[in-house]
Symmetry: C2
Subunit: 132 residues, 2 copies
DNA sequence: CACTTTTTTTAGAATCATTATAAAGTAGAA
DNA sequence: TTCTACTTTATAATGATTCTAAAAAAAGTG
């Protein structure tokens, strides 16, 4: 199975549940954005059986810590995650409440002119809100 | 009282509670970032008496809708608001969990090269995460 | 293989920010 | 003052996330 290595490298044992989560998250043509609830439903439909929410939360957070997933900063009652961990930005369609990727090349280079003593920049994320 | 007009213009009656909230939010030298809980505590300390959470939520949301406050998109369990409603961006210090303003002039101009049919850009917000 | 130890999964409970409810209070109009 | 609509409030409900502790699975040992 192709995700055993990925899990082992992250210090996670390749359990049945984690492998299924990997498959749903990473065995896709395109990357995508999701909430925990989205992910849980997708798994339930594919397995005709569920993986407990606690396991999904734990695994997603482990992947996030390892850099296999990113959280997207957005104002929502649910947390949005992204399987696209490359350096990129987002449109947020306020009417449809949907996230759309903006590749780094879709946004001109961003210059941050202010410096904070003793701190370094970890990431620069742009959120472009859209309306009709 | 200087906020009566502001409230009336927004279709909000100038009640004792709303005037106090205005005073805490807008009668300051500098703009600031806050959560509902921050605001509630500040009021409690100043009045030696509280304004109910429901009223604070309702009023803050009314001000947000009128454009007197902005929400800041950030991953936190609490919603962050900003009394600075000008077009600007933020540093987020991951260690201190603190927001710092980045004036528009602190960030070079941002070019969004991708267009979405039938949608127009409402805002462009940059979040720069900082670490030690 | 047994048997023990460690890790993982799970259902359900707890937490906590936010929203809803509905009764009591208040502002503004007449 | 009186009437009515709006507002505040305490409290309950909601819902995402986190915690807990017991059962299940995996790993280690000889
Ligand atoms: Mn998290
Ligand atoms: Mn809101
Ligand atoms: Zn994305
Ligand atoms: Zn700000």
């Amino acid at each position: 199975m192709k995700y055993i290595e990925k899990l082992r490298n992250s210090g996670l044992r390749p359990t049945k549940q984690r492998l299924k989560i990997c498959e749903v998250l990473f065995d896709t043509e395109k990357t995508f954005h999701f909430t925990i609830n989205d992910l849980s439903n997708k798994i339930k439909k594919q397995l005709n059986n569920k993986i407990s929410l606690a396991t999904i939360y734990n695994t997603v957070h482990a992947f996030e810590k390892k850099g296999y997933l990113k959280q997207i900063p957005i104002n929502s009652n649910q947390t949005y995650f992204d399987t696209n961990v490359s350096d990129h930005h987002h449109f947020y369609d306020l009417n449809e409440q949907k996230l759309i990727d903006l590749e780094n090349s879709d946004v001109g280079p961003i210059k941050i002119l202010k410096k904070i003593e003793g701190k370094k920049i970890k990431s620069v994320e742009v959120l472009v809100k859209l309306e009709d």
